[in-house]
């Protein structure tokens, strides 16, 4: 439905987008996820026509829309801070897109009123038509903004951190509600967020971006379970990042030697290992499987227990269940053995600091049996 090809955008000496290409399928809800400065908002604005790329093209349904003005694109845009017309009532705000249509295609007053009321009831704000934006809460304002964007029946809905300005509870409610609305209307949607929980919960596919480049595109499960780059690994969820050396089909992290079958041919190279906290298996010191570690700190967080461990001079974070915690009688100063059930390695290109990373090998732990 939307094809983005080789977009490049700079602001002065700052490059916001480096050769970005992307396809948005019809009817899908796509998330652009990344930290500030990753270029996600710039990309969204280029899709809307509020900004224009230096080079590259944007195609809507095969037609070249690269230089088409925003007002002619037929997209809906929802801003982080709502951007409601402050001196117009809710009704006039939602009706705006319809009232500025040229005389020929403008619906009659009655039809406009019907459409506005229909939209307001869809966003659960019937009865608010006569209010002004300053009289509404943040969540209500954003729903008006959504109704306003939908009023012109856009081909695609673009949302720029739509829930960023709202408090946590409202944010959670509205994101679920947005998903329902999307499923009901079957409209194509692209939204920008820096909240990985939001992206993973709401989107059909997630585009992870960093520093103007796309790191990975995939379904929420895909990118969480199989991160393609260290950045994605570290951005989604907690992870332990460890220096290691890959040599002769093995990765060595201190005293720990882990099989790395994908790297059979590698003589000796520095690398980075990633292990999720819940993939670190803990066992009593006497059992002999894994590496010796000393417990630094134990934090009980509801159903999970976070354990800070010292392995040699590295500090690791492990996550385990309450049950395991009581089995092992975890306490600060205690000695344990630690073994990763699953780890992923990336080689560093060049020395001393890594520039590029190659997708590494995976390990399934055989020991411990936990």
């Amino acid at each position: 439905m939307i094809q983005v090809q080789n977009l490049h955008k700079t602001f002065g000496s700052f490059t916001a987008l480096h050769d970005v290409s992307l396809d948005v399928a019809e009817g899908e809800l796509l998330a652009l996820l990344g930290p500030s400065g990753s270029g996600k908002t710039t990309l969204l604005r280029i899709l809307a026509g509020l900004d224009f790329a230096d080079t590259g093209s944007v195609l809507f349904d095969g037609g070249d829309a690269t230089h088409v003005a925003a007002r002619d694109r037929g997209v809906g845009f929802v801003f982080q801070h709502y951007a409601l017309f402050r001196h117009m009532t809710v009704f006039d705000n939602v009706a705006f897109g319809l009232t500025v249509r040229p005389k020929g295609s403008r619906p009659g007053k009655k039809e406009i009123a019907e459409r506005v009321h229909h939209l307001l009831s869809m966003v659960q704000l019937e009865g608010m038509a006569g209010r002004y934006p300053s009289q509404l809460s943040g969540g209500q304002r954003q729903r008006v903004a959504l109704a306003r964007a939908l009023a012109i029946e856009p081909k695609v809905l673009l949302l720029d951190e739509p829930f960023g300005a709202l408090d946590a509870q409202v944010r959670k409610e509205l994101r679920r509600w947005l998903r329902h609305l999307h499923d009901e209307l079957k409209i194509t949607g692209v939204f920008v967020t820096h909240d990985q929980e939001e992206a993973l919960e709401v989107a059909d596919r997630v585009v992870v971006m960093s520093q103007g480049r796309i790191e990975q595109i995939g379904s929420p499960t895909e990118i969480y379970d199989n991160p393609a780059t260290p950045f994605v690994y570290q951005f989604l969820g907690n992870v332990n990042s460890l220096e290691c050396r890959v040599r002769g089909g093995e990765a060595r992290i201190g005293d720990l030697r882990l099989p790395a079958p994908d790297y059979h041919g590698v003589e000796d190279a520095p690398g980075q290992a990633f292990v999720r906290p819940h993939d670190l298996l803990l066992s009593p010191a006497g059992d002999g499987v894994g590496v010796l570690a000393r417990v630094l700190h134990v934090t009980v967080l509801g159903p999970v227990v976070r354990v800070e461990l010292a392995v040699g001079d590295q500090v690791l974070e492990a996550e385990t269940t309450r049950q395991r915690h009581s089995e092992l009688k975890l306490a600060a100063g205690q000695s344990l053995r630690v073994w990763p059930r699953q780890a992923r390695f990336f080689l560093k290109d060049g020395w001393p600091e890594g520039k590029g990373f190659e997708v590494g090998g995976e390990l399934m732990g055989e020991g411990a049996g936990i």
């Binding site: 026509g49 003005a69 845009f77 801070h81 903004a145 306003r148």
Partner: protein, 279 residues
């Protein structure tokens, strides 16, 4: 130490009262007394003299000229100010800071110098003087020159009022309107203008007050031709120099009334408009 507390509270009360008294005295001396004096002097020869001074030929001519000048310069500066503010607040372009400095220029230059510059440009011995007289156009020592000088001097008022206001309001509402399909004029009329209407009115009020009261720049370009090129402030000067005090003050009282009306409207707008003033 309740005793010393009481002392310090008493002391601060005393110093507070003294400060307020000092401020009131200064205000009274420099503002109230002159204002009241204008009206007292104007009516010193009685109401009849006051009224006849106002309807005297030269006086009427000066009132008409002041009115005409304001009628031309205020809408012109409204247009310039609005356009400049819109460009500066809503767009990025090279030379933006240059434009901002230019807008502030009339404020930093002495009004007399402003008038002099026009004489040097358009006067008979000026740069464009010969060209103008060849085409039989009189700017200096004629009404057009007065209007020109007034436009220059009152240029910044609307812009300086609108620029911080529009910058603070940002461009998001306009961007939303663009994506919804509105054209440039529609956006300006329905989105931008309603958001700035109070600031605009305020700027126009200030611009008008200055346009009617300007002395220095107009004095240099006017030529002081009675009945033709005298605005009200200039007429007051002429009458005063002829020792015709009561008549001078009569016209001055009109300007004073204008000042009071402007002040009242300004306060009403500030109360309605609320918030912080940028100057």
């Amino acid at each position: 130490m309740p005793g010393s507390n009481l002392n310090s509270r008493q002391e601060s009360l005393v110093s507070r009262v003294l400060l307020i008294l000092a401020a009131v005295i200064v205000l009274a001396l420099f503002l109230l007394v002159p204002l009241v004096t204008v009206f007292i002097e104007a009516l010193s020869k009685g109401l009849d003299h006051y009224l006849s001074a106002l309807v005297e030929d030269d006086a009427l001519a000066s009132i008409r000229l002041t009115g005409l000048t304001a009628l031309i310069s205020v809408p012109l500066n409204l247009f310039f100010g609005l356009t400049a503010s819109w460009c500066i607040a809503k767009f990025e372009f090279r030379g933006k800071s240059l434009l901002l400095s230019l807008i502030d220029l009339p404020f930093s230059v002495s009004p007399v110098i402003s008038g002099l510059v026009f004489v040097l440009l358009f006067g008979l011995q000026g740069w464009l003087g010969p060209w103008l007289s060849d085409h039989d156009i009189r700017l200096i020592f004629a009404v057009p020159g007065i209007v020109l000088a007034t436009v220059f001097v009152t240029f910044p008022f609307v812009a300086r009022e609108l620029i911080p206001l529009m910058e603070e309001q940002g461009t998001e509402e306009e961007e939303a309107a663009v994506v919804l399909g509105a054209g440039a004029f529609r956006i300006f009329w329905r989105v931008t203008l309603p958001n700035i209407k109070w600031g605009l009115l305020y700027g126009v009020l200030l611009c008008n007050a200055r346009a009617m009261g300007e002395f220095g720049a107009v004095s240099v370009v006017s030529g002081h031709i009675r009945g033709l090129t005298n605005t009200m402030p200039l007429q007051v000067e002429i009458l005063y120099n002829e020792y015709n005090f009561a008549s001078a003050f009569a016209i001055a009282s009109l300007l004073a009334l204008l000042a009071l009306v402007t002040l009242a409207a300004k306060s009403a707008l500030e109360w309605r408009f609320g918030v912080r003033r940028g100057h």
